[in-house]
């Protein structure tokens, strides 16, 4: 049955259905619908909900529950996620599975409460210290928010690694029909590494501290090996008409919805615009971008930032074709017209974009 929910509520319900029974949060706009939903639902399913005294306390509580083998989650928005960075580094260093939702708002600093994608670097490159990675998933609809949050708990457990859901104020607060079409998880397998009391078995250790010389380097090598496996197996993306296009748009989340409008519209007028939408921001879909860059005229990256993901696009393209950028900052959301104008500017002979621009100007 379809339900009309906000992205925030969808994330919360999907977590519950994925077997998450430990949620710790601290209020911040624009993700309050998530914490509010959890405060009602967690007691209903016999789980634990705590409105912590701070963001740092919340991420540390996640650390505790994850170490004890539970499916744990926290959520916040940009300034609050900054506060959680120490905890995220410790979770990655302790190889603890958990899910962190960032419903991004405008920054830097306290910024504002409107939609933004300016936390890409922080999410993907690691906002905390040390050589670590978090798996980063970027939904672009309320349905996909539910699906990705559900999957994120499995990914976290599979690799014993934190997973971040990177949304924004628009995805968080937008209401769309969605369906929870996966089975609610019951009787999750026990985690044999977790801290459950060592009576009758060898003790387990969960730590990120390796003071003996050489041990830490060995542990880092183990982490890097794990990250390589993730990069090889967990890349997700959506590709639209990449074989016919002269220009490829690369965008994720909210920006991708608007790019998709440009791609779909241009199909009516001798279609020559395609699109790649990264669903995993780390691991980044560099292979498909590299392949496409070998035959297209150029790539245009669209973000609600001053240009962050575009750096990863350039690393994937490695100079095979020009990589352009269009971005809005501080709560600005690109419009389809702005993107069409940018396409005409960089590829003046793109017929589809030209036709679309002419139509828009007549109107």
């Amino acid at each position: 049955m379809k339900q009309l929910l906000t992205g925030n509520e969808a994330a919360a319900e999907a977590a519950i259905q994925a077997g998450c029974r430990y949620y710790y949060g601290y209020p911040i706009t624009p993700q309050n619908e998530l914490i509010n939903y959890m405060s009602v639902r967690m007691p209903e399913v016999g789980g634990t909900f705590i409105q912590a005294e701070s963001e740092i306390a919340a991420i540390s509580m996640v650390h505790g529950s994850a170490a004890a083998g539970g499916r744990a989650m926290t959520s916040s928005s940009s300034p609050g996620i900054s506060l959680k960075q120490e905890g995220i580094s410790y979770l990655a260093g302790s190889e603890l599975p958990c899910v962190i939702v960032n419903i991004q708002r405008g920054g830097p600093g306290l910024g504002d409460i409107s939609a933004s994608q300016a936390d890409y670097f922080q999410a993907v490159k690691g906002g905390g210290h040390g050589d670590y990675r978090t798996i980063v998933l970027a939904p672009s609809s309320v349905q996909e928010m539910a699906d990705l949050v559900y999957d994120s708990f499995d990914l976290a457990d599979k690799y014993r690694n934190p997973v971040m859901i990177l949304g924004d104020a628009q995805i968080g607060q937008l209401m769309e029909p969605l369906e929870f079409h996966r089975k609610p998880k019951k009787n999750l397998p026990a985690k044999n590494w977790s801290l459950t009391g060592a009576e009758g078995r060898k003790r387990n250790i969960v730590k990120s501290f390796y003071p003996v010389k050489g041990q830490l380097e060995e542990f880092n090598a183990h982490l890097q090996k794990k990250y390589k496996v993730i990069e090889e197996n967990e890349v997700r993306y959506e590709a639209i008409n990449i074989h016919e296009a002269d220009i490829i748009l690369v965008a994720y989340g909210t920006s991708a919805r608007i790019c998709k409008e440009v791609v779909k519209k241009s199909q009516q007028y001798e279609f020559r615009v395609g699109m790649i939408r990264p669903i995993t921001l780390w691991p980044f879909p560099k292979e498909i971008i590299r392949k496409v860059s070998e035959r297209v005229e150029c790539v245009l990256t669209v973000e609600m930032s001053a240009g962050q993901m575009v750096e990863d696009v350039k690393l994937a393209v490695e100079g095979r074709c020009p990589v352009h950028f269009y971005g809005r900052t501080g709560g600005g959301v690109p419009t389809s017209l702005e993107i069409i104008k940018k396409i005409v500017e960089i590829v003046p002979d793109n017929r589809a974009a030209n036709t679309l621009l002419q139509l828009a100007e007549v109107k």
């Binding site: 607060q173 608007i258 419009t335």
Partner: protein, 180 residues
């Protein structure tokens, strides 16, 4: 068919609920729908605005640059959003709280929603009066589809509110019949 509606009023006038009822009816009707609230860091009594898009096709951006319909409850909201209505758009306004100096080209329906709701005995149903009016003008859905949503929403302790909401919906529809 794509209908882009901007709903605006001051916080507490029930614009959120009005839009949600329409969105749920659209969903029940098998339509694509996006419903996006836009709240700023505004003070109490400031304007609250909601963007509702109902379509037979996939909806990309949930934001509205040019609205087909503007449903507006108070003077500040009218001033703020009137220019976002397309030239041949539909304006449904709460005439109890909005005074028009000069009528523009847009198709305008003046519904004394606050007054009607007060007469029914609860000023809080003025949003449902507006909803009734909108339904009678645009006929996107049958009133029964909206009533289903109201019924699902007003259960248990809120059950006694169903009657007045039904009356409000009906009054809104009647107003349009008398005007047109």
């Amino acid at each position: 068919m794509t209908e882009k509606i901007i709903l605006a009023g001051f916080g507490g006038q029930g614009m959120m609920l009005l839009g949600k009822l329409l969105a749920q009816a659209a969903m029940a009707d098998g339509k694509y729908v996006t419903y996006f609230p836009s709240y700023g860091t505004e003070v109490r009594g400031g304007t609250a605005v909601y963007y509702l898009i109902i379509s037979n096709e996939e909806i990309f951006s949930p934001l509205i640059e040019e609205a087909d319909t503007l449903i507006v409850m108070n003077q500040p909201s009218y001033q703020k959003y009137k220019d976002m209505l397309k030239p041949d758009g539909l304006l449904v306004l709460n005439s109890s709280m909005i005074k028009l100096n000069n009528l523009s080209d847009v198709k305008t329906y003046q519904v004394p929603a606050t007054e009607i709701a007060s007469k029914l005995g609860n000023v809080l149903v003025s949003n449902i009066v507006m909803l009734g009016a909108y339904l009678a003008i645009k006929k996107l859905f049958s009133a029964s589809l909206i009533l289903d949503q109201l019924q699902a929403m007003l259960k248990g302790k809120k059950g006694n509110l169903l009657t007045i909401n039904k009356q409000a919906l009906d009054s809104g529809m009647q107003v349009i019949k008398t005007i047109s």
